[in-house]
């Protein structure tokens, strides 16, 4: 295995809450290898989205450093594609226009751009909807477009911030299946934030459980289950309950 794709070293993040400093993240060390799918899991308020925003370059860490492909992160960039919970499509662009946004910035020729957009829209099952505007799509379809948009820009890593959190339970599972299938084809390096244990076990090669405030890494689980995974297999349920036990300790702390 080569150098890690994402390297997080000694990251702290302090926020000012009503004028007083509050520690959101403390001493985070994490490496993500190439083609690896890592889930950040933890109770709400544990700072997992903050950590993702730091890797994306939207926030600066108070201490420590993040490197992607050996280069320190100083701000957002095309090497780190981001998929947001609220989709954040460009409403004035068609579905194809959204997917072509990154290649267009990269000065890819128009014909090639169209080919790229068609390929990724096909991959997420939206080939027939290229000319629609986002307002005409359902939540699940919007998130498929957002995933296609991130993939079409061919970033070194993809960061996903609770991407299925706003969807209903059925759509959520369908999209988990899709993402798992896409990952078996595309072999991306993915850092994925979720508070759903089931989702993490279904998708991840590794699950990183975080503690509640301040967020630290509590435990890391290697998920050795073969893909595609069966949510009802005995082994799946066993891993799920093992992680659930660890997460519950943290949730309980929040309520104390």
């Amino acid at each position: 295995m080569g150098a890690p794709k994402i390297e997080i070293r000694g990251v702290d993040k302090e926020f000012k809450v009503e004028g007083r400093p509050a520690l959101a993240l403390a001493g985070i060390d994490l490496e993500v290898a190439e083609h690896e799918f890592v889930c950040l899991l933890g109770p709400s308020g544990c700072g997992k989205s903050t950590l993702l925003n730091i890797v994306a370059g939207f926030l600066q860490p108070s201490a420590g450093e993040v490197q992607v492909d050996g280069r320190p992160v100083t701000g957002p960039g095309a090497d780190r594609g981001v998929v947001f919970q609220e989709y954040v499509l460009f409403p004035w662009l068609t579905v194809a226009g959204n997917v072509e946004f990154g290649p267009r910035l990269g000065s890819v020729a128009a014909g090639e751009r169209r080919r790229i957009a068609a390929r990724y829209l096909e991959l997420v099952g939206l080939g027939a909807h290229a000319d629609k505007f986002p307002i005409q799509l359902s939540g699940g379809m919007k998130q498929r477009v957002a995933i296609a948009r991130a993939l079409a820009n061919n970033p070194a890593v993809i960061l996903m911030d609770e991407p299925f959190g706003a969807l209903d339970a059925q759509t959520r599972e369908v999209l988990q299946d899709e993402l798992s299938r896409i990952q078996r084809v595309e072999h991306k390096t993915i850092l994925f934030v979720t508070h759903s244990i089931r989702e993490a076990v279904y998708l991840a090669d590794r699950v990183v459980v975080m503690t509640s405030a301040p967020g630290r890494i509590k435990e890391v689980f290697d998920i050795a289950l073969p893909t595609p995974r069966d949510r009802f297999a005995a082994e799946f349920t066993r891993v799920e309950s093992e992680i659930t036990r660890v997460v519950k300790e943290e949730v309980a702390k929040v309520h104390e």
Partner: protein, 253 residues
């Protein structure tokens, strides 16, 4: 279709009421019929004006002044509105100035423009520019300020530079507000051109109206007002059509 019929009927009703009052007055001799011009009087004035070409000349001059003043102000409002929306320190610096200038009725400054720019075209164009700039600037800056920061994040993580963020995200995202601001500005320009032409002008629809007063031709006053109204609704319909075609993505389907 139904609303189109209703609107046509309402307009027709107003015309009929106008005709009833004015022709009725003429029949019954309640007051001097010159004071209440009939639709026929106004049409006669329009035919006269069209025949000697004066109507077209006045209309064209007013429209040109409006276009020039509005165009200059729109350019400045777009540039400065974008800057102020993007740059917090500039916005904070401009805010007190705006709050001071904005409540002053623009017409209060009209004599100043005549003093500075004389009786020629420059004073009218400058005055319209001055009047329309502030509301357009405020609307544009506000719509730039309202652009969702998440859109900027999404674009930045697709590789957008600062310049690309402005042209490919801020401008299209703020476009609905920008267009509303421009429409507002144009309406206002038509609104104040009359005042500007009342004072020290030898042509234009405002002058035509003032001439109607001077030479006691009420029909000419009504004609000038009607043409201004017509011009306003035509331009508004045109801008709405542009807006609809530019903002296709907002329409639900």
């Amino acid at each position: 279709m139904r609303s189109g019929l209703a609107r046509g009927a309402a307009l027709g009703g107003v015309l009929v009421a106008w005709a009833l009052v004015t022709y009725g007055n003429r029949w019954l001799g309640i007051t001097n019929p010159v004071l209440l011009p009939t639709p026929g009087d106004v049409i006669a004035a329009a035919v006269d004006g069209l025949r000697d070409g004066s109507l077209l000349r006045h209309g064209a001059i007013s429209l040109l002044r409006v276009l020039e003043g509005f165009g200059l102000a729109a350019g400045a409002a777009l540039a400065l509105g974008l800057l102020a929306g993007l740059c917090t320190s500039l916005r904070l610096a401009l805010e007190p100035v705006l709050e001071f200038v904005r409540p002053i009725p623009p017409l209060a400054f009209l004599p100043m423009f005549l003093v500075w720019f004389g009786l020629g075209e420059a004073s009218k164009v400058a005055f319209i520019g001055y009047t329309t700039f502030f509301p357009m600037f405020v609307a544009i800056a506000a719509s730039v300020l309202r652009v969702d920061v998440m859109l900027l994040r999404a674009a930045a993580s697709l590789g957008a530079s600062r310049v690309a963020l402005i042209w490919r995200v801020v401008v299209p995202a703020a476009l609905p507000g920008i267009i509303v601001g421009l429409r507002l500005g144009f309406g206002l320009a038509l609104f104040v051109i009359v005042g500007a032409e009342f004072m020290g002008a030898d042509a234009g629809l405002g002058h035509l109206i003032m001439e109607g007063r001077t030479f006691f031709q009420p029909a000419q006053i009504v004609l000038g007002a009607l043409i201004l109204g017509l011009l306003g609704s035509l331009v508004n319909a045109l801008l709405l059509a542009v807006e609809r075609s530019l903002l296709r993505w907002q329409a639900s389907a």
